[in-house]
Amino acid sequence: MQIFSCPFCGSRPEYEFHFGGDLGNHRPEGFEAVPDREWADYLYFRNNPKGTAREVWMHLTCGEMFSMTRDTVTMAAAPGETLTEGQP
């Protein structure tokens, strides 16, 4: 069992969390003007790094989303951080 740390609730077991994708994967602005390739990149394409990953996670129990830095090989996970305006 892996323990993750929600910035609002503290350390909790892994099954309370849901993976939310790469940190910084922002929805393209401009709707009709956005080319198909860019939509596909936003919707489907992933960084999927081996090693250090910057990710968005949701703590299902409190419903809050937050960012987390994690190693995808060793599974070491730093405490979650709140998402703030202007973050990459």
């Binding site: 069992m1 892996q2 077991p13 892994e14 099954y15 849901h18 993976f19 198909d36 390739r37 939509w39 596909a40 990149d41 919707l43 489907y44 394409f45 992933r46 960084n47 999927n48 790094p49 081996k50 090693g51 990953a53 990710e55 995808t72 090989v73 060793t74 599974m75």
Partner: protein, 417 residues
């Protein structure tokens, strides 16, 4: 020197003290240049090399493997082969693989121990029975064998299933595919390696790709831990590590890598002669020829490159197994392991040229790559030899994501991921 495997050669070698056998494949030094280089010495990579040599006459080929042959997902899966998919594109693909599997032992002169013992995907509720009927109809229209089973049929093929009045996952019936079954996973890798090596393919183990050689916007080879190896066409068949290789080549893929676990029990006497999947339990099982129960389930929920699993999913799988087969309560588990699988949003593979010209992809098989090995090899070989798609691989090109032409088997056949 005995190269051909048969009962007669066994007897002859027995009389000669087993001294005439030759290694199944050779381990040459890397050459500086090949016509084609294939990265990944698992089933898909080795099959690609074999079909390049056999079908297309291209024998100046190297297969590069950072570890040992079949040490990744080819040696970590639960050995099930089947083609019970929903969409016509998928059935064409997976049935091509199953048909090739049916003739493979003879073709490779290597016993892959194919056992077409049938597979039942159970339905636990009336609504699931409706979905099962839909899948059976689709499979039959798409030209593969499928039968809708009722409760009595399930009782006939899996008498040890939990049919008790308090069963948490009652079996109302399900999708039966009689041509499904199991094959010896290591033998598939070794058989293709031996046949490819005999046709002149170089198999280079302990050779890790460090970067791609890119000249004039094209992939011209790879830099490896054993030196630079040039080729005008490079194939990539590295499953869970596809994203990492793509990053080295300068592009991203619609892939997330997850650990997929499996486990085997101690060997027991024959008790289960088919493959059983109970979607409600999140578990499937079959019994190996040695007598072990081979058990698998869903993905771990945390993206990972660590080839080991985590307990919550294993707990779900084991409790599901005990709901399905209460008689297994005293069974001891012998081993548990995980492989890193390449999961794509629409649960279908990616076959085609990558954004880096000259580099061709065979990835995204997710949790089901083993069953597809002969087709993946055939289709990637076709691409590498001709530069063009085979009709069967065209719908699986990487461009389907931008075109919105996904082949969503999670929605179609209800595969769990």
């Amino acid at each position: 020197m005995t190269k051909h495997y048969s009962a007669l050669s066994l007897v002859k070698e027995g009389l000669r003290g087993q001294k005439g056998w030759v290694p199944a494949w050779t381990s040459p030094q890397p050459k500086p240049r090949y016509d084609v280089v294939i990265v990944g010495g698992g089933g898909h990579g080795l099959a690609t090399a074999y079909y390049l040599a056999k079908t297309h006459g291209i024998t100046n080929v190297a297969v590069i493997e950072k570890g040992w042959l079949g040490g990744g997902n080819t040696g970590r899966n639960t050995t099930v082969v089947r083609s019970n998919y929903f969409f016509p594109e998928s059935v064409r693909l997976y049935d091509m693989a199953l048909k090739l599997y049916e003739g493979l032992s003879r073709e490779l002169n290597y016993n892959i121990m194919l056992s077409q013992r049938g597979m039942i995907s159970l339905a636990h509720t009336p609504a699931e029975m409706e979905m099962a009927a839909r899948v059976v109809n689709a499979m039959q229209i798409n030209g593969t064998d499928a039968e809708l089973f009722g409760p009595e049929d399930v009782r006939r093929v899996v008498p040890i299933y939990n049919f008790g009045p308090k069963a948490r996952y009652p079996a109302l019936g399900g999708v039966w595919q009689g041509r499904s079954g199991t094959a010896r996973h290591d033998a598939v890798a070794w058989g293709y390696a031996r046949a490819a090596s005999a046709l002149g393919v170089d198999i280079l183990q302990q050779c890790e790709v460090q970067e791609f050689i890119v000249e004039g916007g094209r992939c011209r080879g790879v830099k490896t831990s054993r030196g630079e190896i040039r080729a005008d066409r490079v194939g990539l068949a590295v499953a869970g590590h596809s994203g990492q290789m793509a990053a080295k080549a300068g592009f991203r893929l619609p892939i997330t890598s997850y650990a997929l676990q499996a486990c085997v029990s101690e060997p027991v006497k024959p008790i289960l002669d088919t493959v059983v999947l109970a979607p409600g339990a999140g578990t499937y099982a079959s019994q190996s020829d040695k007598g072990e129960m081979v058990v698998g389930g869903g993905l771990d929920r945390i993206p990972s490159y660590g080839q080991r699993g985590n307990l919550p999913v294993l707990e779900t799988v084991i409790s599901g197994l005990l709901e399905m087969f209460p008689s297994f309560r005293q069974l001891k588990l012998m081993r548990q392991w995980a492989g890193i699988v390449d999961v794509v949003p629409d649960s279908s593979p990616i076959i085609g040229e990558s954004p880096l010209p000259g580099l061709f992809l065979n990835c995204g098989w997710g949790t089901g790559g083993f069953k597809a090995i002969p087709a993946g090899g055939t289709l990637l070989a076709h691409l590498l030899a001709t530069g063009q798609h085979h009709d069967i691989s065209r719908p699986f090109d990487l461009d389907r994501f931008a075109r919105g032409r996904l082949i969503d088997e999670a929605a179609g056949s209800g595969i769990a991921h």
